[in-house]
Symmetry: C2
Subunit: 441 residues, 2 copies
């Protein structure tokens, strides 16, 4: 019997399991325009309710990959390991991980995204470095990667165009948040981009795209299953995203925080300890996947060593240079343009910080200009939030908890209103948040 | 806050109740093309899973009605009562009810549909009468109705165009079978067509569009609630659709069966008793809504009387004449063209008919050419099935249970294969099927 789009939609709607043929038919007909957007969006909503099992997800990934080019990195005779985060607030580990791993002789082919919604994007952060170029062709990407072991670029239409088209449709039809569809979107990109192994950083908590732990664990397991089905190595690290990671939220502020960690001569802040811990853990996992060590713990030691000895920082400077960035701003941070308006959030009582809600920090940062509300919005690289306290820290009445920076007082004030609702001070002692929840292998 | 299509879809997806404003916004934006088909189909699939409550359904009906013209029948100084059936096999009651009610001084403004799928359509049956015209303007419809108390026409683009557009989208996105959406589609048409009261014939059983009793009862209650919310009187009759109604399936065959009931001089068949009973019950309910009698039972007596005395038949002849039909074929049935190929289904055992599955009869009739598989398919008015037995009837081995008629033996044979699976003969005595399940008021 010949396939028909209505019957495929109806089958999924009624809780059936789609065959590889049915998924192939639906995706290729959609790309060939014989199935219109309205039938695809109807199927996506049926999938939202009925889910995709591991084999349906695998078939969907296959179709996504086959819709475009698969990057061939076989010419690079080194382990090639990438990291993917499900997205959070103040999540800047990629900026450190890419040069760090490449300084340990691991190739890092890193394809990142832009911020949309309240979570930041690595590309926006990198572009806050004047001149830094992320829009590369696959040819340029491979060339840079071969030369320096590391390259950070944006998504290209050459790779998984089907995912790109369907993601855009999901975005406007309320069908983003489904574990099967999320898995297919992530894994297809990662597999097509040519890495040998991927470490997934799954964020859990108010500032994560998938806040609840149960769904996040389900996502972690699906990601590992699907990635391994394609012959790639994979590990998942569940990390906390109830408060922002590190002390900086905002594009250039986050680059600055990364520099303060990487530059051995820079002053260190105790407020970056969580960022450091998560970064080192992810690096340990990446080194383990690369076969550079016997355990993740050994890898963490190697990673820590290469930060302390400045190898990572030197690699970062090289990376910025080769991708067109102006390293003057890295070495002389005071040269960077300053934001116009600022305000401090002060505690109104003595006590301990019990909540710095990552979601509120994310939403406030978007209002300040760090992110986009619409795809065409322009980013203000100088805007952001600097935290002076983290959850568990003692605070006195009148002391500044965090500072807001924006282009004008209107933005700063409206960001302050959002932030206010996400900050709590308690009378009794509060512990700090453990950022590493679990490593799943 | 300004409304946004994604938020409305997300709200329904998450099980929220849409406000009248949200429904107004979504429908008018869709008709104004600022909301595309793919967002509408995504909302429809979310509604399929989450449903519409009575108030959401009411709001949707309101928007459908306001999208077009409301037929003003206030110039007709008589009760105006319509009947709507959810569709079945051999369901031909409208052909008798329209002239019958008008012969009892009730105006019958009847807007009917065409067959699609395995259930027949009243318009197709009427068009089997050579010359009979159902594509009328609202102006012609009102004029004929005023003149003769009765007019049967097809749907027009002037009335509820929103429903027409959305129904077409539902048809290709597997979102037809939802009680809320079905209710909105039916009630909006019936209210906009200007009747004062509507009797709903809700079919239950294998040959019904909604086979199960629970959903059918839910539909009945929703139809009554919504119709009354618009100030119209309403009753629902639940009737059985496990075997075809009457003895004929197929367009002209069904007209013939109606004539044999209406024409006092025609030979009567015991196989039409169920059709007669359902028709009389619906007529009683319509007369009761029209205020012509104190009870449905009284109305049934009045209806029976006007069939017996030939008033209904005379009115039918008038109706055919005024709508352009050739009455020669009504009075001389043998003039009608005959089908080319035929076959009889014979019992292979002595016993009692225990099953004549209406769904199989419907599917077989489509294969014979009585219905459409695609909207553009042409109908064969002479094709069909004539039953010699009904459920509960005794049958001898070798006796013909029913006869199939089609344009060629290929069609007849493939219809026969479908029909075979739907016919059962039992050794032990079987009761006949009671067609009236319940009257809901």
């Amino acid at each position: 019997m010949s396939l028909n789009p209505i019957e495929v939609i109806k089958k999924k709607r009624n809780g059936g399991i789609l065959t590889a043929e049915e998924i192939h038919y639906f995706i290729t007909s959609y790309l060939g325009s014989s199935i219109p957007d309205y039938q695809m969006s109807s199927l996506l909503m049926a999938v939202y309710f009925q889910g995709l099992n591991d084999y349906e997800t695998f078939s969907l990934i296959n179709e996504f990959i086959n819709s475009g080019q698969v990057v061939d990195l076989s010419g690079i005779n080194k382990p090639k390991i990438d990291k993917h985060s499900t997205g959070g607030v103040g999540d800047k580990t990629s900026i450190i991980l890419a040069p760090l791993l490449s300084s340990l002789d691991v190739a890092v082919p890193m394809v990142s995204g832009r911020g949309l919604g309240y979570t930041g994007g690595t590309l926006d952060k990198l572009e806050s470095i004047p001149g830094f170029k992320v829009d590369l062709t696959i040819g340029e990407f491979k060339e840079i990667l071969k030369k320096t072991n590391v390259c950070m670029m944006g998504q290209t239409d050459e790779v998984v165009p089907a995912d790109k088209r369907i993601y855009a449709l999901r975005d406007v039809t309320a069908t983003i948040d489904n574990i099967g569809l999320i898995t297919a979107s992530i894994v297809s990109k990662k597999v097509a981009e040519g890495a040998d192994g991927i470490v997934y950083d799954i964020k859990i908590g108010s500032g994560a795209n998938i806040p609840d732990e149960k769904s996040s664990r389900e996502l972690a397991n699906k990601l590992l299953f699907a990635t391994r089905k394609f012959g790639k190595k994979a590990l998942a690290v569940l990390t906390d995203m109830n408060e922002p990671l590190g002390y900086a939220v905002g594009n250039w502020f986050e680059i600055e925080e990364c520099i303060s960690i990487m530059n051995p001569l820079a002053e260190k802040s105790s407020l970056s300890e969580d960022l450091f811990k998560v970064t080192i853990t992810l690096a340990g996992a990446m080194l383990f996947l690369a076969g550079k060590c016997m355990s993740i713990e050994d890898g963490m030691d190697m990673a820590q060593e290469n930060i302390t000895n400045g190898q990572c920082y030197r690699k970062f400077i090289d990376m910025v240079k080769i991708q067109g960035g102006d390293t003057e701003f890295i070495t002389n941070k005071q040269m960077y343009p300053k934001q116009q308006a600022l305000a401090g959030m002060r505690s109104i009582q003595d006590g301990y910080i019990s909540k710095l809600d990552a979601r509120n920090f994310g939403l406030a940062s978007v209002v300040l200009g760090c992110g986009r509300r619409k795809i065409e919005d322009k980013i203000d690289h100088t805007a952001g939030i600097i935290m002076n306290k983290k959850v568990g820290d003692q605070v006195n009445s009148g002391e500044i908890i965090c500072g807001l920076f924006g282009a004008n007082m209107e933005k700063v004030e409206s960001a302050r209103n959002i932030l206010q609702k996400g900050i709590q001070v308690s009378n009794s002692k509060v512990g700090c948040i453990n950022k590493i929840i679990e490593i799943i292998d």
